[in-house]
């Protein structure tokens, strides 16, 4: 996959693929240059620096959400709409677990843009959609806030669980066994703690959030 000319979106996409494969810490201007068969400084013709690159990666992914199949046709209720956005975002987090922390964490362009729906375009889409379903101004904004909080909390933790990321390594001994001698409850509940019901927990929490939004809505 060799190109004649370098191009901003191609750089950003390569960076995303690289981080997906190797992790954020490995992303380096020089290494990204190598991947694109170009010298590191060539990248600066198209992006203004590392910070700009990270921002562009986040923007690319968030904007890409619009193209998700779940988003391409209109929802028939606001509940269905929220479910579609939530599930599309969840797919994004699962698809790019090493980038999602960036999406959740990077300071947004304006303080009222809340991750992960952190582009003006998305806020517009979100608020206007809810209003099309009859939400008042206040209710739409309140829903935006609680919905984004929900997504960040649920998805950031889920994404983190998908990235081994080579933790401490510590000793060469059993890498998962800490003492737990003095922690009887944790020891007893260890199996339950390990069980993964992410999908169901996500759906349940979303259902409850929807219920919460419904009942706190102006009539």
């Amino acid at each position: 996959m060799v190109q004649q000319r370098l191009d901003r979106t191609q750089i950003v996409e390569s960076a995303i693929a690289f981080v997906d494969a190797c992790g954020l810490g490995e992303l380096t201007m020089r290494r990204l240059g190598t991947v694109l068969e170009v010298e590191a400084m060539a990248l600066y013709r198209h992006i203004s620096g590392r910070a700009d690159l990270l921002e562009a990666m986040v923007d690319e992914l968030i904007d890409g959400l619009f193209d998700d199949e779940l988003m391409t046709e209109d929802a028939h209720s606001w509940e269905e709409y929220l479910q579609r956005v939530a599930n599309a975002t969840r797919k994004l987090a699962i698809g790019h677990p090493r980038i999602f922390p960036l999406i959740a964490t990077q300071p947004p362009a304006a303080p009222w843009l809340r991750p992960p729906l952190r582009s003006v375009r998305w806020v517009e889409e979100f608020l206007s959609s809810l209003q099309r379903f009859g939400f008042s101004d206040r209710d739409a904004v309140a829903a935006y806030k609680s919905f984004t909080s929900f997504l960040v909390g649920a998805l950031l933790l889920h994404a983190a669980s998908l990235t081994p990321e080579a933790i401490g390594d510590e000793d060469a001994e059993a890498s998962s066994e800490t003492d737990l001698g003095q922690y009887p409850t944790v020891q007893r509940l260890q199996d339950l703690l390990r069980e993964d019901h992410t999908q169901r927990e996500f759906d349940d929490a979303l259902d409850d959030l929807i219920e919460r939004i419904r009942t706190s809505r102006d009539k």
Copy 2:
């Protein structure tokens, strides 16, 4: 505040203070050394590297939660207990907004340790407390999961809003005015979006989470 001898907890505390003041990106071994009036390499006698330092900072803060006044005496109901933990954690996030992303984001020591209550000690305290109030094994674990998700979502976004962090700067023009011409809903709701009701939203969401936990509990 000059000491004769360097000491691990002193290093960690200085690092926390430094990041609170200057931001994570400014934290450097050399600079931290300067603060402590010591050469950078001296730090390596007490910590094994930058990664270890960051981990120690997180641990220090999370363990410090136990000393919060809200945690020093027993709660009389599990609802009150959750409220105390939530509010203590909230104080932590507000007190160290530039470190909280680390607390939420850094890969935990074990996959079943969920930020921000990411120490075995905390999980033990949390689960055993709920069980003292009659929670079954499953319910306690389920509450741990939904509660941590809630905290991360609510507090990470709140902490982010407290860190100006010197965003793009972009042009010298009005740093907060984007066009918004093509975003009529956002434009119209701009004031509502800017309004800050974090405390109330936090309390409301917590109340609803508690209600959710109550009704999904085994009888």
